[in-house]
Symmetry: C2
Subunit: 442 residues, 2 copies
């Protein structure tokens, strides 16, 4: 586990930003939080609903265990939908130290239900950070070498402005009053954060899945600000099949009578069953047929012969139910609607007259794309299409398709070829950027 | 559309069977039924729930627009779960005429949510029969030549004993009091029907998907009774991934508060939202990424620019929602639990010490297997494994993998190679069986 950096970002704020609130709790505190059930976090884990705060919102949404920057009301984010979000709040974590030239910052973009807790224990679950295989001391994204930033996407529920955040206009959580958000809106909010941290150019922007979409959007929207980019298991547009799976999840949530048009925070119940079903359906798409066969096959759960019932007879059923029920303890149902919708709208070429090559034309950014053979959600063909567009746009690009049976989730897992590819690419880019070698004295 | 045969099956019943009820309504009547809204069928289509009868059950479940054979209480079906179903009712349709040698009967086994209405208008929806491309005069399964039988599977909701049928012990629909059913149980019930029709050996047993599983079970359980077999887009066991998708559907149904532990027939509501979500998730698996891209892509529904909302923005969303809402008008939620569960339990080799070859050892049946390149639910590898087992068991087998982007649903669609393969195989088998050539005078 990487130690969150102790840098006080308030010291770096630029004059236009009013840092209202900086909450910072060391990672080890989270574990105590989860183990000893201080306040409302623990109890809610037994309620099967995302942690709520006394005002009826979600605790992490307004008081996250993170660094937070709240931009002033007078500086709204204008979304792609043409609506304003103000004030805009961005919750984030950092690891490592920013060098004096501010040239060693790596921005990590998280996936659909990920968050800013890349390399520290999760404040709600107590589990390790979601990318500790990739990020930490001596890891490919080496926190001894790079200043690593990860913010919660807007539309999320871990501290950046999302549907569970309090709407200052009403004093209640936004719910569906929050404008629908796009990948570009998420990236705009991240750019505000990077401005706030005083960083002109990021050394690298990296992420998988929806994180990879953000990487592509960064490279297209801010080509001068991205020295190198690693979109992993990504796509330049969301496919019809993937929109379909998202729609199933949304319908499952909206079919739950406790969803109440998104206004469930005003009641004691949460649409937990609907959200769990949504997660179960999605979770299948993150794995592969082969991996499921290898891990579970047709093995029965805790029995030698079938009971001929509708209980969880098979191990895969028990596993899926657990995925559903544990998810609702850390995630907000409305946020699930927003983040899936953001992915659905993503079609990078559409902003460039239908030409993906135009999105990257003349880009000086170095790209490294990675796909996985068994990923059927974002299959290799998606990455290859991006590579072709980058080639057509004259960009520098490496591309690796990794043989694995782990499916889409491989980008989160301990896949040696992913780690060695990432390390090799970043080491090479760091030399080109003039960063000191790993282990060198600063 | 084929004309249902006018043969009176009562005349053929064997002495052990007491034919209690024979309901028979010509196909054209169904259309009037749907068009003019006689009785409760039409109105319920607007209620978004499967048609119910005045007693609180489902109309088709106890009074189907089909031929029906009800076996006596004294001859229960002993299920694989070790429980009895009595009386056992099997609802079915027939097309064409049985020859005097009773050697031209083709049994069609339907898929998960199919029914006996193979080649006539559906009594609830008014739509054409589900396999009119394959079955009818001059079609590959030629009703001028063959006597075609299709029964509703037990566990279904179109007239064979299922959870919506009245439980004679209580006078109320079974709900979850019906024993859990397996593919072998379905086939046992079909064998009773075939006995009842006085047929020793079926010329052919054919079906796709869950129908294909039944075909395999027929060939394994009753090798002497199956001259030739056509399992299409099938598998000898249900995969972990497929169990997972089914479990999502079941959880969606059981999460619906109107499901009430399966006892919804005692109330005015139905778990329609949960069932619709289940159908939506399943429907994606019946298609292919390529077909969805070709049919819908990322096109918006009735608008030029995105509205940035959670309405059905994309055509694929609108299509999926329609699939969900139309399904609940013709299918029972508890039946969905039963038929998915039957598929989950299917593992033919398991009954033969783990050896699929043993299941077919010494079989004289001629097999023709068909798979589709874009079918990711029952991929070609599944069919190939069956072919290997048949080869090892010394059986006669043809195998065709058809190139198509239509996914699993290809078996239901107008795919010329499927139709020509089926026709060629059946013509050849008919010659071997000594049936007169097509068009010959009987």
């Amino acid at each position: 586990m990487a130690q969150p950096s102790t840098i006080r970002v308030g010291a770096m704020r630029d004059s236009s930003v009013n840092v209202v609130d900086l909450t910072y709790i060391p990672a080890r505190t989270y574990i105590a939080y989860a183990l000893f059930g201080i306040s409302n976090v623990w109890s809610i884990q037994h309620m099967g609903a995302a942690a709520i705060d006394p005002r009826g919102g979600m605790a992490e949404a307004d008081n996250p265990h993170s660094l937070v920057v709240r931009f002033p009301q007078t500086e709204p984010l204008i979304t792609d939908a043409g609506l304003e979000i103000a004030p805009l709040t961005v919750a984030y974590q950092t690891y490592g130290a920013l060098n004096s030239a501010k040239s060693n910052a790596v921005l990590i973009c998280h996936a659909l239900t990920g968050d800013q807790h890349v390399a520290n224990a999760h404040p709600l679950t107590g589990k390790p950070g979601w990318w500790e295989t990739m990020v930490g001391p001596g890891r490919p994204i080496d926190t001894n070498r790079y200043f690593v930033i990860c913010s919660n996407v807007i539309g999320g529920c871990m501290g950046s402005t999302g549907p569970a955040s309090l709407n200052p206009a009403t004093g209640k959580p936004y719910g569906l009053e929050l404008p629908v958000i796009t990948i570009r809106d998420m990236v705009c909010a991240q750019a505000r954060l990077v401005d706030h941290l005083g960083i002109d150019q990021l050394f690298c922007v990296a992420g998988g899945s929806m994180g990879g979409m953000q990487v592509l959007q960064w490279a297209a929207s801010y080509p001068q600000r991205v020295f190198c980019a690693m979109p992993i298991a990504a796509a330049a547009r969301h496919s019809s099949q993937n929109i379909a799976f998202h729609e199933v999840g949304r319908q499952a949530i909206m079919a739950d009578p406790f969803w109440r048009g998104g206004r469930y925070f005003e009641t004691a119940e949460r649409p937990s069953k609907g959200l769990a079903v949504a997660r179960m359906a999605a979770h299948i798409t993150y794995l592969s047929d082969e991996a499921l066969h290898r891990k579970f096959g047709r093995r029965l759960q805790d029995r030698a012969a079938p009971a001929f019932s509708f209980d969880a007879e098979f191990q895969i059923e028990s596993y899926l139910r657990h995925q559903g029920s544990s998810f609702v303890e850390r995630f907000d149902a409305n946020s699930y609607l927003y983040v899936t919708r953001a992915m659905d709208y993503f079609d990078l070429a559409d902003d460039y007259g239908g030409s993906l090559a135009l999105a990257f034309k003349g880009s000086k950014t170095r790209f490294c794309l990675v796909s996985f053979t068994s990923d059927w959600l974002f299959p290799t063909a998606n990455s290859r299409a991006i590579v072709h567009a980058l080639n057509a746009g004259g960009a520098s690009v490496s591309f690796v398709e990794i043989e694995t049976d782990k499916g889409h989730d491989a980008f989160l897992l301990d896949v040696p070829e992913l780690l060695s590819t990432s390390k090799g690419f970043l080491d090479s880019a760091a030399r080109a950027r003039g960063l000191p070698a790993a282990g060198a004295q600063p």
